[in-house]
């Protein structure tokens, strides 16, 4: 397994991303620990003269050229138009959420909203309070788009505005979306939201718009979690993963068999095997790419999560898990 810890996150002007996106780089202090070597062999990076040591999959330490800039995947800028539909070659993005660690701090929600320039009520990442049966203890359940391998939303799109890429990611092209909302109703996980309000920051013809960043959004179209693939190109973890104070959200690559929360990097298969990782509503056959580790041996009592909510929200949460 290839591992590097690139602690630098130089704010070089490598691309023309918008300011609020750049702000997000504060979260990306720890760059993705996955795959510099893997990439170095896939791509042909420009020679920088500097050498770095990396570990190969069969356990040998080798020296490779350090890539010139701090971007991991060429091109570094988020892909636009047709290119955004292709997917990053060789990648198979996956997320693992450890429910035992989640205390509903809601930092993932806030970071995601800031990074994607969402309204306070718009959430790509939601944290639900779940209770599986009358006797079980409730637990917090962060939920974003599952980027299914058999996505019901993509099937129903009449114009191909939402699409599945080779790197597992399901994206929405706001330039093509006609706003029919069929995908919103087709998604069994309620992962999609509609841009109901007209915001100043919404723009129909912003040259910087990329489906990989979902920024800027467009009024009257559908948006959702984009797995922050735009950030992956820069070697950064998604906003939610970097912002979680508990390190509950792991992001990585199935092909490299590695997921990381920024602090520790784990083998994906072993993790799912050992902790009996599961996918929500597996029986629907949607084949999600977000895995959950069961909320056993929780680090906090679930009530502590109420501290981060308004009284009204607590009331709604409590009502919704009341056993009937």
């Amino acid at each position: 397994m290839a591992q590097t810890t690139n602690t630098e996150d130089s704010p070089k002007e490598v691309n023309s991303r918008r300011d609020f996106l750049r702000k997000g780089s504060a979260f990306g202090l720890i760059a993705a620990a996955t795959g510099a070597a893997g990439l170095a062999s896939n791509q042909d990076p420009k020679k920088s003269g500097e050498k770095i040591k990396v570990l190969t999959t069969d356990g040998k330490v080798i020296e490779v050229d350090k890539p010139v800039d701090d971007c991991e995947i060429e091109p570094c800028a988020p892909a636009k138009g047709e290119a955004a539909r292709q997917g990053i070659p060789g990648r198979s993005f996956v997320m693992v959420i450890d429910l035992a660690k989640c205390k509903n701090a809601r930092k993932c929600v806030e970071a995601c909203q800031e990074g994607h320039d969402l309204l306070p009520d718009q959430e790509f990442m939601k944290v639900h309070l779940m209770k599986d049966n009358p006797d079980a203890e409730p637990y917090w359940f962060p939920k974003n788009c599952f980027h299914c391998d058999n996505p019901p939303c993509v099937k129903v799109c009449p114009v191909g505005a939402t699409f599945k890429r080779t790197d597992n990611v399901v994206l929405v092209d706001n330039d093509a979306c006609i706003g029919c909302k069929f995908c919103v109703s087709a998604c069994p996980y309620s992962a999609r939201i509609f841009n109901w309000e007209d915001k100043k920051s919404y723009s129909d013809d912003d040259p910087n718009y990329s489906p990989e960043t979902s920024v800027p959004g467009q009024h009257g179209t559908v948006s959702k979690c984009d797995f922050c693939v735009g950030r992956s190109r820069e070697g950064k973890l998604p906003y939610c993963a970097t912002s979680c104070p508990m390190g509950a959200i792991y992001f990585g690559d199935k092909n490299e068999d590695a997921v990381t929360n920024g602090e520790e990097t784990l083998r994906f298969k072993q993790l799912i095997k050992d902790r009996i990782g599961y996918r929500y509503l597996e029986e629907l056959g949607t084949k999600p790419n977000v895995y959950y580790l069961p909320p056993t041996d929780r680090m906090f009592p679930y009530e502590r999560g109420f501290n981060y909510l308004s009284e009204e929200q607590v009331e709604v949460m409590k009502n919704s898990i009341k056993s009937k």
Binding site: H128, P152, V156, C177, N195, E197, E312
Partner: protein
Amino acid sequence: MSSNPLANQLLDENKSFMEKPSFRWKVSVVALIAIFCLGLYALFLQITEGHLITGMRDHVVWGVYIVNFVFILGLSYAGALIAGIFHLGRVKWAIPMQRILKLITVFSLIIGPFYILLCLGRPDRIFDLFLYPRIQSPIIWDVIAIVTDLIFCIVYMYFTYIKDFALLRDNSERLNMSNWRKKFYRIFALGYKNTPKQEKLLNQALDILAAIIIPTTIIAYSLLAWLFGMNLKVGWHSSIFAPFFVLSAVYSGVALVILIMWIYRKSGKLENTFTDSHFTHLGFALMVLSLFYGYFYFSDYITDWYNMQKTYGSLWEKYLDLSQYGIAFYSSIFLITFLPAIVIGIPWFRSVKSIVFTSGAVLVGLWVARYLMIVPVLETPYLPIQDVRPDWVNYSATWIEWSLSLAGIALFILFFIFISKLAPIIPVSEMKEEQEEVKLDLSLKTDQA
């Protein structure tokens, strides 16, 4: 000139379409146009201010618009289906209402699709549906079905007008027609002279069109049902949806025909054309359809209710809870499945008026049933909705949606009002002597309204 004396006689009896508009006529047209304009204003607001001013939100993404869409297209497909079956079955007593059926078909097929366009967040990109269609999407199935159906139904309707246009053209001098009428009938009669060869060709064309339209409408409405059935939603994901939709479409179509026939009978002195027996015949059809509908409804709900899967349990609770959808649920079941059986099945209740009243009640009940089939299901996703904003949890339509719904009804009536001024509402040339020999042995409580 015409070889059909009965047609001439009927034409003379039904001259009202040529009369100068009465004061009442003008008032109703102005009122309807006003309602329509209110709808246009609502549409303007919806486009400029965004969908937030409607009741639609992230969970109930469609609401009243899609209910209207389903309901109105159902009427349309029913009109075509019933007209086609009556035509191919050579059902003679049904000839006078053939034109009404075809007009229902075309008018609702024109109005219905606008309701799904109202659901679009980006109506400016509507043409992408034709430029970049993805055949996997049920919406594209609907686009294809509606366009196909619209073409066939307009042609079918027009072909049934040709003989009457020719008849009117031939009688234009005798009836003292204005010039635009003479010109209009001359052009649109397409030179039809009622020669045996022309008649044979026209009849063949009508037969072929009827034969095409019957399967087309069944397919089209099934495709519409799959717009819902193909979703992984508890309450929608059901194999019964397509036949159920077709059945309820026919049911609503029969109810609407009864209603329109009665309105024409009242306003146009058509007692001899739309006789009591027409109402009893269709009334019995309505009753049979209501029983079928009850059967479908029951089997749809019982299969889910018996097992009570978790999400379905929460949906079912909403249906039964009187503070939520209970009242609408129980009353729609009563109106749709029990009322026709009681009113039409029991001779003591049976009269033209009661049949017409039942038809109206059935139409209301069917609309509510569609609402219950769509909105509560959207409010019950797998994951609980944990939102503090009440309008985000429960749907309630705003005046925007209601006024646009009324605008659709107003437009539908306006279409009928204007087309009634163009030619008789009954296909006078098709009426043959046999039509008067209809023997009915269905008893009817005497009610000469």
